[in-house]
């Protein structure tokens, strides 16, 4: 009862908060009178916020990482500098640039930092007054942002990312919606729903169906975003998302048996039964597109088209040249079984060191010449001694979105049957244990009773 009242209070407060946000922004009059000069205008009422942004992952595209193997101490990691086979490039190697002309003479702008909320002159990780002034506050905070203005152009030889700093955008301040987040996050990895493959739609996620938006779970504190422990998402703002807490509690189920499961099985395992997005990519093989540009060969899947793989995970990560994935075991008290999207990517390795090499996409995008891309990246990263050889890397992506409605969550027989989704042998169970774990005896009477109740 107390729990229900608490949840009701939280919902009421959230609704009240959203109404108050939906009301006119108090700064509207000021903007109409004084115009909008970017962060300088926002800082009149929100002092210190611009500087605050510069310290976040959204600005730096990197952070200290302390749960991943084989990282250099003292170095911050993230999409700024990481090399792995979903992207094979990063902000440094694939800094926003104009692609050389293709055979049709066409060129275009491309780069990993295209989504960065600076103006590109003040770029990923930049600091100081110029960086503060370059922040595109309205990109996330305006409901009337004109995205056609957010495109790169060449100004005095520099590539500058345009921003909508119009009065119209500045007087329509609102709480960021899922659309705000997905503007950048849905196109990661080379196209819509390629990297993580989750769609923020009512059909795909029960939270969305209940009118929740991204920041209802990723509750932002001072522009720092809580994130989960995806083995392939390293940078974080020091805050973590959890299903427990104000929404679901430590014992979320009515049935004690299910709560016992939750001690060893992550919520996502039963409640996110499907995943999506690319399952494999080959950066050694680029395909010519009808527009004359080339793209890495990619096997794509829509949202909810892929069955996850399940593994023990203690929230620490194995990071090897050919593998990035969860560490943990049945015997490890900190481990739980989690679902992952299995991705395999092929790229060039340096035969002399065994390290995965990065690729500058500009040359292969124009001509399909992958080795020219490796050579360009090596120049940028000052790697002189290398011999590129192709190889595969396996990556476990956390499966943390697309929460299914209760009826579509995994049920007893989804796992406890001989053809269930869990590979008990791989998970460390003996033959005798597997025999018991896959017997209907575990759930038969309970489900029969439930069935009878539902029938009458």
């Amino acid at each position: 009862m107390l729990k229900k009242s608490f949840i009701a209070t939280v919902i009421c407060l959230s609704v009240a908060a959203s109404f108050s946000y939906a009301k006119e922004h108090p700064g509207k009059e000021y903007v109409l009178k004084n115009g909008y000069q970017g962060p300088k205008t926002c800082e009149v009422c929100h002092p210190g916020k611009a500087k605050e942004i510069l310290g976040t992952v959204h600005w730096k595209h990197a952070s200290k990482v302390d749960n991943v193997d084989n990282l250099k101490p003292g170095v911050e990691y993230g999409m700024k500098n990481r090399i792995y086979t979903m992207c094979n490039g990063n902000d440094i190697v694939n800094n926003l640039k104009e692609i050389p002309p293709n055979l049709q003479g066409k060129t275009k702008f491309s780069g990993c930092n295209t989504c960065h909320m600076g103006d590109h002159v003040s770029d990923v990780g930049s600091t100081g007054a110029a960086a503060e002034a370059a922040i595109d506050c309205l990109l996330c905070h305006s409901s009337k942002y004109d995205f056609s203005k957010r495109k790169p152009t060449k100004v005095d030889g520099n590539i500058v990312m345009g921003q909508d700093r119009s009065i119209e955008a500045a007087i329509n301040i609102t709480r960021p919606t899922s659309k705000t987040c997905m503007t950048c996050h849905e196109s990661a990895g080379g196209g819509v729903l390629v990297k993580r493959g989750f769609a923020v739609t009512s059909e795909a996620d029960v939270h969305v169906a209940n009118k929740m938006v991204c920041i209802d779970c990723h509750q932002v504190k001072n522009h720092r975003f809580p994130t989960g422990y995806d083995p392939n998402n390293w940078a974080h703002d020091g805050l973590r998302v959890s299903c427990a807490g104000e929404c679901h509690g430590e014992k979320p189920h009515k049935e004690a048996g299910l709560n016992r499961h939750a001690e060893k099985i992550a919520c996502q395992t039963c409640h996110i039964p499907k995943t999506g997005g690319a399952i494999a990519k080959d950066f050694t093989k680029w395909q010519k597109q009808e527009n004359g540009f080339w793209e890495p060969a990619t096997l794509k899947k829509e949202a909810n088209e892929t069955i996850p793989v399940y593994a023990w995970y203690n929230l620490t990560v194995s990071n090897e040249p050919h593998f990035i994935g969860p560490k943990g075991s049945r015997g490890d008290s900190k481990s739980k079984i989690y679902p992952f999207k299995l991705f395999q990517g092929k790229a060039f390795y340096n035969q002399k060191t065994g390290d995965l090499m990065s690729m500058d996409f500009a040359p292969p995008m124009a001509t399909g010449d992958t080795l020219a891309g490796v050579a360009s990246a090596a120049r940028i990263l000052r790697i002189a001694d290398y011999k590129p050889v192709p190889g595969w890397q396996t990556i476990y992506f956390g499966s943390n979105h697309q929460v299914a409605p209760k009826k579509k969550a995994l049920a007893c027989a989804s796992c406890h049957s001989p053809n269930g989704v869990l590979n008990f042998k791989e998970l460390g169970y003996s033959g005798e244990e597997i025999k018991k774990l896959t017997s209907p005896a575990i759930y038969f009477d309970q489900l029969l009773k439930k069935q009878e109740q539902e029938e009458f």
């Binding site: 989504c115 995205f147 659309k179 196109s187 990661a188 990895g189 819509v192 597109q289």
Partner: protein, 107 residues
């Protein structure tokens, strides 16, 4: 005789039904990649006509867009004229109803 006529009548009804089912569901699914040449948003904002120039044939194809997610992207100009689009649509009764309408670009 009456029984024979009944059987013949029922058979005829069944044949008509069977033949009409595929006709009703004969929408042809087409995939194409093309540059967005023109967007015409309906006054009520609940639909749009997008004209794509097929990269393969060079022909202009009119696509009817009704899903909210894409309409929203057209309204706030996250998708604009000149963008390259990967589209899947149902060709039915001279109307091309969009099923998937995504920009090809990513990062």
């Amino acid at each position: 005789m009456k029984r024979v006529l009944t059987v013949v009548f029922l058979a005829a009804v069944m044949m008509v039904s069977v033949l009409s089912i595929p006709k009703m569901a004969s929408a042809e699914e087409i995939k194409m990649v093309g540059v967005l040449n023109k967007i015409e948003l309906a006054a009520d904002g609940k639909s749009a006509i997008a004209i794509l120039k097929d990269n393969k044939s060079g022909e202009e194809v009119q696509i009817s867009v009704t899903d909210e997610l894409t309409l929203d992207k057209l309204k706030d100009k996250r998708i604009v004229e000149g963008d390259e689009i990967r589209c899947k649509f149902d060709k039915q009764d001279k109307k091309n109803a969009s099923k998937i309408f995504k920009k090809t670009a990513g990062c």
